[in-house]
């Protein structure tokens, strides 16, 4: 466990050295400037748009971090040949992979937490400055704790994408890993369509194939409840729990597969 946390902390430190936290500054500037500009452009929908923008930016910034750092987690060590000195230390290969994954998840957790705080700060300011009469027209309160449901699922989705990037990183080059991960991210958004393939196709084998792919490929659209929470609609706790469990199981499968592939790799 100590070895895993040691690797994880080093991944986190490296991401700080790579100036990853700069994106937080960009996020804050984006939100604050937009909160002013949007107020001039929209008909009383500032809060809804700020929430959409905040959650959307959290997801997209996290996606870039997950993909572009995730793809280099293992391949960078191999390219720099630092893998030899690392594996010479008392760290097993599974510990190395799990540590790498945990380190990037820690980076993402800090990022998502800071972005969420920034979003709440902007929303809190808007709630403070707007009149009670104006606020009465809002569908949901400005500082709405239900936004955390969307944030939680965004974080889980990012964890899953990180696991995908790590998986490809164990056997592929960074460019190919980025292409595969991004491709799987896009496919994952449409995955739920495969479930209803039988409604548009007659062929049984095609339907079985689509159904099989639906189960095997990550169902990322399930992690998107942004629209619902922004409109103050109910997202059942059961849905959150089952999606969290699904995400965790999928992540476990990917990390295990990464460990297996990495353990069998020959670095001679």
């Amino acid at each position: 466990m100590r070895a895993i946390s040691w690797v994880a902390v080093n991944v986190f430190k490296e991401s700080v050295r790579d100036r990853v936290p700069y994106n937080l500054l960009l996020f804050a500037v984006l939100l604050i400037s937009c909160s002013y500009l949007i107020g001039q452009l929209t008909a009383g929908q500032d809060v809804k748009i700020i929430k959409d923008l905040g959650l959307g930016a959290t997801a997209v910034f996290g996606l870039f971090i997950a993909i572009f750092i995730g793809i280099g987690l293992v391949s960078k060590e191999v390219e720099r040949r630092s893998i030899y000195s690392l594996l010479a230390k008392p760290i097993s290969r599974p510990q190395f992979i799990v540590g790498k994954y945990a380190g990037l998840v820690l980076t993402l957790a800090v990022n998502v937490a800071v972005m969420t705080l920034a979003l709440y700060a902007v929303l809190g300011y808007m709630t403070w400055v707007e009149t009670a009469e104006f606020k009465a027209g809002w569908e949901a309160p400005g500082v709405d704790p239900r936004l955390l449901k969307a944030t939680l699922l965004i974080f889980l989705e990012l964890m899953l994408i990180t696991a995908v990037a790590l998986f490809f990183s164990t056997f592929s080059s960074p460019i190919l890993s980025a292409a595969f991960t991004f491709g799987l991210y896009v496919v994952g958004q449409f995955n739920s369509d495969l479930k209803n393939f039988d409604k548009i196709v007659q062929s049984k084998p095609a339907v079985w194939l689509a159904r099989g792919l639906y189960h095997v490929l990550p169902d990322l659209s399930a992690f998107d409840v942004k629209t619902e929470v922004v409109h103050g609609l109910h997202v059942p706790a059961g849905y959150l729990l089952s999606t969290t469990a699904y995400g965790m199981a999928y992540i476990a499968a990917l990390v295990t597969a990464s460990v297996v592939i990495f353990s069998r790799r020959d670095f001679k």
Partner: protein, 295 residues
């Protein structure tokens, strides 16, 4: 890099940017791009296709289309030159609501934009109703959508039976206010007289949404204008000009029947058709056009 070189490089970069800005301003002044070139364009008109393209950022894309719709509507409405064009308004609202099916304000505010008579809007109550029906498909228990359809039937189409039917449907939704049912009854019994209109608009005036209150205030002023028009029309008919002389406010003032050119509730003078003697609000008035009269 030495400090002096660094400062010089920064200054050079700033200077180049300033030159670019100056050139841009010069070009815009010399070759002003006309409306045809900058006219709004919708490259993708299918909401379903855009929802796919937007991946998980569909709500954000909906906001972009909503902002575009507002800018487009406002731009056309306020444009002082040329014919006002609203043909992209419905597709933009349709896309915004396809991307975010729970976008209440896009349905409700959009319906007001669409039903507004030309030149203040496209004058398409049919599209307004279609948009609100889409909202009902997404949220079947939202009484506000039923209410808004009823209002379009009542205010724009003057179809009291349909209005009453939709008011009754609105009243049957959970959380609907209790004044909706009596309004539905009034529509049928009194045929939508101005007293009913006033009552309905005063209810809308209590709404939490500022834009709905603004719409109701304007509606109430329009009802007042209709009352004034009736009074003025009676005067015009009672004191017609001599045969061969056109109808005019001047003539009525000369006869000391009126002391001034009568203004509508916003202060804009009413217009009097010289041929027919029909009193109307001016096209320059904020109240123009008045809701269509019952067919």
């Amino acid at each position: 890099m030495r400090r002096g070189t660094f400062i010089a490089a920064i200054a050079a970069a700033c200077g180049c940017l300033a030159v670019a800005v100056a050139l841009q301003m010069l070009r815009d002044r010399t070759y002003s791009r006309d409306e045809q070139q900058t006219r709004s364009i919708l490259y993708v008109r299918s909401g379903a296709a855009l929802k796919r393209i937007a991946l998980e950022y569909d709500a954000l894309a909906a906001d972009v289309y909503w902002i575009r719709a507002i800018q487009y509507y406002g731009g056309q409405r306020l444009s002082a030159t040329g014919k006002k064009r609203y043909e992209l308004l419905y597709p933009m609202l349709d896309i915004a609501t396809s991307l975010d099916p729970f976008f209440t304000i896009a349905y409700r505010f959009g319906a007001i934009f669409l039903s507004e008579g030309y030149p203040g809007g496209p004058g398409r109550p049919d599209q307004s109703i279609a948009l609100l029906r889409k909202g009902i498909a997404a949220q079947p228990t939202k009484w506000q959508y039923y209410h808004d359809i009823a209002f379009v039937y009542y205010w724009q189409l003057r179809d009291m039976e349909a209005a009453a039917r939709w008011f009754r449907l609105a009243a049957s939704q959970p959380g609907a206010p209790n004044w909706l049912e009596p309004v539905a009854a009034t529509m049928l019994i009194q045929g939508g007289d101005r007293a009913s209109a006033r009552f309905l608009l005063q209810q809308i005036l209590k709404s939490e949404e500022a834009w709905l209150r603004r719409m109701a205030t304007r509606g109430l002023l329009q009802v007042d204008a209709l009352d004034l028009i009736d009074q003025l029309q009676a005067i015009v008919r009672r004191f017609p000009p001599p045969p061969g002389t056109p109808y005019s406010w001047e003539w009525l003032r000369h006869q000391r029947i009126l002391t001034m050119v009568p203004p509508d509730p916003t202060g804009t003078p009413f217009e009097l058709d010289p041929q027919t003697g029909t009193v109307t609000v001016s096209s320059k008035s904020e109240l123009f056009p008045l809701p269509t009269r019952k067919q």
